[in-house]
């Protein structure tokens, strides 16, 4: 374990990681993480538009993790705490902009629907995304959280690039959803 600490530091340093977190999210923790990102962005990013876009993307990604999280099912019952909103997030800085990476568990039955949604978003140019946002805002069915599919559209609009994603089957019922959002300066 001890010899891995330097490797971990090295890896985070090489990837220019500004913040990384794995675990359960609460609204209070999201507030704290957003505060940290805002402070760092104030120091390293001089362009106000980019600062705001990164903050927006990080906020939507964290709230996605908080709202959309499949119960990670375990047979031995020892990991009951994993039923809390649970995932991983990493924000890195690179030459052309910022990268916001998230990972969380989703129900296997939702994977196909999610892929269709993401591919539709990735197939659109900025004007098309704007139209889809407005259409979803006015006609969309909204969940108790109020989101209703706007989150990913907004993330794509703020990113200025395509959403990179992948699904890895985890167990019989769940998949692990990975998302990389590049916010280009």
């Amino acid at each position: 374990m001890l010899d891995q600490i330097h490797d971990l530091y090295d890896s985070l340093e090489r990837q220019r990681v500004m913040l990384s977190f794995k675990g359960s999210l609460t609204p209070e923790l999201i507030t704290a993480l957003l505060g940290m990102i805002e402070q760092k962005m104030d120091i390293i990013e001089s362009d106000a538009k980019t600062r705001k876009r990164v903050f927006n993307v990080v906020m939507e990604c964290l709230q996605n993790l908080f709202h959309h999280n499949a119960v990670k099912q375990v047979d031995n019952g020892q990991d009951a705490h994993l039923k809390d909103p649970h995932g991983v997030v990493m924000i890195a800085h690179f030459e052309e902009g910022y990268s916001v990476v998230t990972g969380n568990f989703i129900a296997g039955k939702d994977v196909e629907k999610m892929k269709i949604h993401l591919d539709k978003i990735n197939g659109l140019e900025p004007d098309g995304l704007r139209d889809l946002y407005k259409e979803t805002l006015t006609n969309g069915k909204f969940s108790a959280n109020g989101g209703g599919g706007l989150g990913m559209i907004d993330i794509a609009r703020k990113s200025g690039g395509k959403l990179e994603y992948g699904f890895v089957p985890y167990d019989e019922h769940n998949s692990f959803f990975s998302l990389n959002v590049n916010v280009i300066k």
Binding site: P27, G146, G147
Partner: protein, 130 residues
């Protein structure tokens, strides 16, 4: 009817709704995890105000950030104002945005295209977070 005043927080805007002047104000950040819970009292207030509104009602929207969870609730607020206008009253929404924030400007234009209430885009220097 009483005015509705709420202090701003890191995730919710400062609110000042005054029935005497017909002036409503949302200022700061609207990024709560559960926007429906936050906006319900605001929408209920406008609903009640709409029963005997002032001849002119003005809503100032001066947001630095809002999340997608809030965007639907904000639309619901605007729809209440749209109903007040449809009943024959004057209503205006003033959408404030910072010069370098083209995303916020675009968001205002999006709402203006959806809601049948006059929108005025107001350029500001800097949004005070609180």
């Amino acid at each position: 009817m009483e005015s509705l005043k709420l202090e701003g927080s890191p995730k919710t805007p400062h609110v000042n709704f005054d029935p005497e002047s017909g002036l409503m104000e949302l200022k700061g950040r609207s990024i709560p995890e559960n926007s429906i819970e936050f906006y319900k009292p605001l929408i209920d207030w406008i609903d009640q105000y709409g029963r005997s509104p002032k001849a002119k009602s003005t809503l100032h929207m001066q947001l630095e950030y809002f999340n997608t969870s809030s965007s639907k609730s904000i639309l619901d607020v605007f729809k209440k104002l749209e109903a007040i206008r449809a009943a024959g009253n004057e209503v205006i929404i003033l959408w404030h945005y910072e010069a370098d924030d083209e995303d916020m400007h675009e968001a205002g234009e999006d709402y203006a295209g959806i809601i049948n209430v006059p929108f005025k885009m107001i350029l500001i220097e800097e949004v005070d977070g609180q």
